[in-house]
Each structure stands twice: as structure tokens, then as C-alpha cells.
């Protein structure tokens, strides 16, 4: 036996943390019913791995090693407290008899399994649904998901959301308290609740991704890549619920957007709008993965769990994430900006506008219609939107008007709209971008 090199151990630990944290915590929460004990024991198991793996070598099945170590540590903690130790011992005895003795199973095997009519859900899915329970405030759902499922440290999450660490710590512990005191169940919702609760889970992931996307406009350097975290979490949900069409679509949407992150900002830190981006810098692997996820699910997948939402994707109208992802897919497929199939994008925005009466959808739909059917069509739509007052004070409304006026050659009107937008812009890069556009008008 050779003694493993330190970098190897470090890499193994990093991989194990990324791959196993959620599984270890999720299993321990089910066993102990105590979120704090579960998290403490999981953290202690990883700390023990850092001590013993360099000495004893990396275990053949790191996941099983970590789960066993963590559950023993959890048992110690509960024993010291003198409560519920029987329950844990019972659970360990049960686990040892079951298939888990050979190491944790692959999530995809479990998610599709049906035992006694109820799908045998992976514990991580219980964790995901509990963290996103609608009885928790939205900001707590986001924080708890990143902490408990994502395994991120409270300080990292706090910095990502620009709040003091103490505030974030309080938010997370208050959420755990509510789970305990209000009796929020630790389980995957029953079939009748599953579609709406899954929407809630996806909303949390979407918020995390959006926060990451917004962060890339500002002081992104020291911040955690929330968009990458959101992708990691969405991958987990897709692996656990392969039949959920909207989950796949959300992952696709995230990947297609993330693929463009390098092209979105130039060397000077200025924003580069989509038509001017260097498409060769788009991440081809992420684009390909995103596009593949939007392809219809195979029959084998569709028939695996009859209760899962999205299984009737072929007959059900596409959901909001699929529509948004398909819009990004149209951009991804266009080799140049001029090749963009704008009528296809308009069709998706039409469908989105039917699903939700959102002024932001209306704004994007107007822009797409302006690109597809001529600037005046878009300007007419935007005039109606402006008259409704629903986007009053939002800089992207005058910015969109300015852009369409510019395309129509109405330079003076465009300049006045750009000035309006500059006055309303919220971040420096956005303001600089609009100022550059304004300057270009006078030059041209």
C-alpha cells in the first residue's frame, strides 16, 4: 500500500464534500429528527475524514464511510443528551439489514423505485422539499437550501446576499426552529401536493440563480458563484426526479445562461449585450447540455414514476421554465445575432404572457416583437406598457424604448430615452453601458 499524497486526499475530500454532504445530512435528519445534531455530526464526520484519510488512506466508498461515521457521531451526541437514543439504535439496526449495508445506492435507482405504491424517495429529496416549504419565509428557504442541501457555510451565504453573518445565521436557525415548532414534515409531498410543492422548490433554485446572475454585474470577485451553486442544486433535483419536466427545463435555463457568463462582461468590466457578444466564448459544453435537457424525455423515463409531475409533458402545455429555457435555446442555436429566430422567441413570450400577467414578461415580449416585426411594433407595445404605469421607475423600460428608437433611426428621441434610463439605472456597469450607447448616438 502506498501512502496517498496530500493533494489526492484534498481532492478526495473536496469531491466527497460536494457529492456526499447533502446525503449524509439528509439521512441523519430522518434518523434523528434533529437538524442541528445532523449538521453537527455531518461536519464532524468530514473533519474526521480530514484527519484519518491522510493516515489510513481514502476509503473505497467515501460516501458509505462518511455516512457511517456521521451516524455514529450523531448517536454519541444523542446518547450524551440522553434522549431518543433508542430511536437511533433502532434505525441503525434497520439500516444494517437493508440494502444500505453495501453503501448508499445511486439516487437515480431510488427515485424511480416504487415500493408499496409510494415512491422510495431519496432522503435528499425530503431535505430539498422541506427546505422549500411554503410555510417558511422565502428568504429563509433560500438560505436553508444553500446551507443544508448545498453544504455552504453561513458566512459564504451571508456575503453572497450582502447581509451580516449574524443575520444570516439567525435566518437559518429561525427556519430550523419553525420546522420543529410548526411541525413541518420531513418528507416528499404526497402525489396531489407534489406539482405545486415542486414549483416551490424550483422557485428557490431560480431565485438563487438570479441572485448569482445579478451579482455578476457588480462586485462579483469576492462572491460565491451562486449561479454555479444553483446549477449544482438543480442537477441534484433532476437526478432525483428525472421525470419532472420543469426541473429539467430550469436546469437547462440555468446552463444556457451560465454558458454566456464569460461573454457578458468585457475586459473593462462593461456589460456586453447579447447581439454584440463574442459567441465563440460561450461555453459549448454547457450549451450542449442545456439543449439536450430540452429534448423530450425518453419513454423509459416517462413511465418510471407515474406520480411525478411533468411526466405528461407531451400533452401538457409547456411550463414557465421550459418556455424561458426555449427562448435561451433559440439564442444558443443562432451562430450570429442576425440569425436569431425572433418569431420563435415571440411565440414563447406569447405563451409566457398567457401563463402569468407580469410586466417583465410584457417588456421582453415587446422587445422580441420589435425585433421580429419591426421596431414600431415593439414601440407600440412599450407605449401601452408605459401607460399602464406598472414599470414606473424601472430603467429597462426607457432603455428598451431607446434601443428600438435607435434601430428606427429616431436619434433624438432615442437619446432622450437613454438619458431617462441612465437616471434610473441601479448599478454602475448598467449606467456605463447606457452612457456608451448614448455617446454612440451622437457619434453616428
Amino acid at each position: 500500500m502506498t501512502i496517498p499524497l496530500a493533494p489526492e486526499v484534498a481532492a478526495a475530500l473536496r469531491d466527497a464534500y460536494a457529492a456526499e454532504w447533502a446525503r449524509v445530512v439528509a439521512t441523519l435528519i430522518r434518523a434523528t429528527g434533529d437538524w442541528d445534531v445532523a449538521e453537527d455530526a455531518a461536519a464532524a464526520a468530514f473533519a474526521r475524514a480530514a484527519e484519518t484519510w491522510p493516515r489510513d488512506g481514502i476509503p473505497r466508498n467515501p460516501g458509505a464511510w462518511l455516512t457511517t461515521t456521521a451516524r455514529n457521531l450523531a448517536l454519541d451526541r444523542l446518547r450524551r443528551r440522553g434522549v431518543e437514543a433508542d430511536k437511533v439504535r433502532e434505525w441503525i439496526a434497520m439500516e444494517e439489514l437493508s440494502r444500505w449495508s453495501g453503501g448508499p445506492p445511486d439516487p437515480a435507482d431510488l427515485a424511480g423505485d416504487a415500493l408499496g405504491g409510494e415512491p422510495a424517495w431519496d432522503d435528499r429529496l425530503r431535505l430539498v422539499f422541506t427546505c422549500a416549504h411554503p410555510a417558511l419565509p422565502m428568504e429563509s428557504r433560500v438560505a436553508l437550501t444553500l446551507r443544508t442541501v448545498g453544504g455552504l457555510d453561513t458566512g459564504e451565504i451571508a456575503r453572497a446576499f450582502h447581509v451580516p453573518e449574524a443575520t444570516m445565521g439567525q435566518r437559518i436557525s429561525r427556519a430550523k426552529r419553525k420546522i420543529r415548532h410548526a411541525g413541518i414534515p420531513y418528507r416528499v409531498p404526497t402525489a396531489d401536493l407534489l406539482p405545486e410543492r415542486l414549483d416551490g422548490v424550483l422557485a428557490v433554485l431560480y431565485l438563487i440563480a438570479n441572485e448569482g446572475y445579478l451579482a455578476s454585474h457588480g462586485d462579483a470577485l469576492l462572491r460565491l458563484d451562486l449561479a454555479a451553486e444553483a446549477i449544482r442544486l438543480a442537477r441534484l433535483v433532476v437526478a432525483l426526479m428525472p421525470d419532472a419536466d420543469e426541473a429539467r427545463a430550469l436546469l437547462a435555463l440555468m446552463l444556457l445562461q451560465h454558458a454566456r457568463s464569460a461573454a457578458r462582461v468585457d475586459a473593462a468590466g462593461d456589460l456586453v449585450p447579447l447581439p454584440e457578444q463574442d459567441r465563440s466564448t460561450w461555453d459549448a459544453a454547457q450549451l450542449a447540455e442545456g439543449l439536450a435537457l430540452l429534448a423530450p424525455a425518453t419513454n423509459a423515463r416517462r413511465s418510471a414514476t407515474p406520480s411525478a409531475p411533468g411526466q405528461a409533458a407531451a400533452t401538457r402545455p409547456p411550463g414557465p421554465y421550459r418556455l424561458q429555457a426555449e427562448i435561451q435555446a433559440v439564442h444558443a442555436r443562432a451562430r450570429t445575432a442576425d440569425e436569431t429566430d425572433w418569431p420563435a422567441i415571440v411565440a414563447r413570450y406569447d405563451a409566457l404572457a398567457m401563463l402569468a400577467d407580469s410586466p417583465f414578461v410584457a417588456l421582453n415580449r415587446a422587445i422580441a416583437r420589435g425585433m421580429a416585426f419591426g421596431p414600431q411594433t415593439g414601440l407600440d407595445d412599450l407605449a401601452l406598457l408605459e401607460a399602464s404605469g406598472r414599470l414606473a421607475g424601472y430603467h429597462l423600460l426607457p432603455a428598451a424604448q431607446a434601443d428600438l428608437l435607435r434601430r428606427q433611426g429616431e436619434t433624438d428621441a432615442a437619446a432622450s430615452r437613454y438619458r431617462e434610463a441612465i437616471a434610473l439605472a441601479r448599478t454602475t456597469p448598467e449606467r456605463r453601458f447606457l452612457e456608451r450607447r448614448l455617446a454612440e448616438l451622437h457619434v453616428g
Binding site: 416549504h133 411554503p134 410555510a135 417558511l136 419565509p137 429563509s140 429561525r174 426552529r177 419553525k178 415548532h181 410548526a182 411541525g183 413541518i184 414534515p185 409531498p189 401536493l193 405545486e196
Partner: protein, 279 residues
């Protein structure tokens, strides 16, 4: 796990449609499932009386502690498997269709017997032998919180009051609720169940617990009982007479009959009650 359900209109209330009121079916279902402990309707807020003690003086005001949209119209105590079942039960209640149902967990005492219940067994079938009031224990911003925060028993907490009122045979049951941060609101709109967190504002008053009392001496005795509650000193006690509901009654007919009564104050004013005029 036991929960209190509080019914109110809330800020986004729709008009009440008596023909859609299926509370009888709801009661049948929760009783058949064995999740219902007790529930009752309250007389409208005009008949509420709010009691405070400040500087040793009993201050009595006619009316509820809060604005009428938030005022509670009824309550239930249920024993559900978990919050998801409580949400399901709340969402089926007719009030969820036009107003909102607030789900509040109770404080669970570590030394409580595992089979102890908020409402004593068989209570719902026991006929009233006096005038019943629901006592709402209200924490007011800036007021002292006493033991109402879901915390441990403290000196000057409600234990002595509970003991005294139990001995007098006045207090029927009651319990402290978990803080509003642990509350969940349920509405049903356009066929969808909307679940939201409590959305607790520090600046607002909130209900920290309740007791059901039964008195022989009418409102005057109820005020005396309320004024002895320790939370009357730091917060407020709202007294609400019960307005028993025949759940199987025709709701359209009931609504017409009650329409006239609804705007009236049937309870004596606090001044009348305390002066003995109402007798």
C-alpha cells in the same frame, strides 16, 4: 401535533357567499377523521371588550384590540399529523375561500404527558353551564412580553392565574401559542391553495395564547377574571363572547337572520356591566 386555527377576513378578503358555506361538511369531515378537538364561532367584534391593567388600574375598552379585518371570527383546536395535514384541513374550511385561516402551533411543555390534550376529552359534548368567553392574550409592541413568548415559566407568569381560575371552575382550557414567526396562513383563491409564512411585523400586536372561560356573573365577572391575568399588565386581554353555530343550519337563512344582529352590540358595554346596570 396540536394547532389552533384562527379565522379572519384578512386584508384581501372576498365577499362572503352564504350559499358556498359548507362548514357542516367540513365539521363532519374533521370529526370523522378524529382531528377536531373543539371549535366555535365568536360574536362579532362589536361585542368584544378589551381589558388592560396599567399602574394598578383596570382600563376597559369596548371593542377588539385590533382593526376589524384582522379580528378573529372563530377558532378551532385540531390535532393533525403535521403542518401539511393542518394546511389541508385549513384550506378546506369555508373561510379560506374568502378570508384567511391562521395556523398556530402551541407551546409544547417538556414535562407534559404524551397523551395530554389542549381540550379535555369529551369537552365538546358538555353543555355550557354559564356564559362562555374566549380570552385572547395579546402582546402589544413595547409592552412586556412576560412568559408569552413561548418561553419558560417565569415569575409572574400565568401559572398562578391558571391555578386560581381552574380552582374557581372558571377556566375550561387554554394554552400558550408559539410566536407568530411559527404561524402559517392559508387561503384558497381561484381553486388554488395559497400558503404563506406568518410575516411577523415587530410593530404589531399579536395573540400569544388563549383560554376559554365560563362565568356565572356575565361580562363583569369576565372582566374581573381578565384583569387578574398577568398579561393584562404588559399587554391586553380581549374578551369575546361565543356565538355558537349550528353547523347544519341553512347558511343563507342564517346569514339573513343574523344580518340585522351583526351590527348590533348585544353584550352590555363595559361601563354598564361594571355598574351592574345590565343586570
Amino acid at each position: 401535533m396540536e394547532y389552533a386555527l384562527f379565522y379572519a377576513e384578512g386584508a384581501d378578503a372576498l365577499p362572503y357567499v352564504p350559499a358556498d358555506d359548507n362548514v357542516g361538511e367540513w365539521v363532519d369531515e374533521v370529526e370523522a377523521r378524529g382531528v377536531s378537538e373543539y371549535g366555535e364561532r365568536l360574536r362579532p367584534e362589536q361585542d368584544a371588550t378589551t381589558v388592560r391593567v396599567r399602574g394598578g388600574e383596570v382600563l376597559v375598552v369596548d371593542g377588539p384590540f385590533s382593526e376589524s379585518k384582522e379580528s378573529i371570527g372563530g377558532f378551532d383546536v385540531i390535532d393533525a399529523r403535521d403542518l401539511d395535514e393542518a394546511i389541508e384541513i385549513a384550506s378546506k374550511h369555508p373561510v379560506a375561500a374568502f378570508g384567511r385561516v391562521e395556523i398556530r402551533p402551541f407551546v409544547r411543555w417538556p414535562d407534559a404527558a404524551p397523551d395530554s390534550r389542549i381540550v379535555p376529552a369529551g369537552f365538546a359534548d358538555r353543555p355550557a353551564s354559564g356564559r362562555r368567553y374566549l380570552i385572547l392574550v395579546v402582546v402589544e409592541p413595547g409592552g412586556e412580553r412576560a412568559a408569552a413568548d413561548g418561553g419558560e415559566a417565569e415569575e409572574g407568569g400565568p401559572e398562578a392565574w391558571v391555578r386560581e381560575m381552574d380552582d374557581r371552575g372558571v377556566r375550561l382550557f387554554g394554552e400558550i401559542l408559539r410566536a407568530p414567526a411559527d404561524a402559517t396562513f392559508v387561503r384558497r383563491r381561484h381553486g388554488e391553495v395559497l400558503v404563506t409564512d406568518g410575516g411577523f411585523a415587530e410593530s404589531k400586536e399579536w395573540i400569544a395564547g388563549f383560554d376559554l372561560i365560563e362565568v356565572q356573573g356575565g361580562l363583569a365577572e369576565a372582566i374581573e377574571v381578565a384583569s387578574k391575568h398577568p398579561m393584562a399588565r404588559g399587554g391586553a386581554i380581549e374578551l369575546r363572547p361565543l356565538w355558537p353555530l349550528d353547523v347544519y343550519e341553512d347558511h343563507v337563512a342564517r346569514t339573513e337572520r343574523e344580518a340585522a344582529e351583526r351590527g348590533l352590540r348585544l353584550e352590555p358595554t363595559a361601563t354598564e356591566a361594571l355598574a351592574g346596570v345590565a343586570r
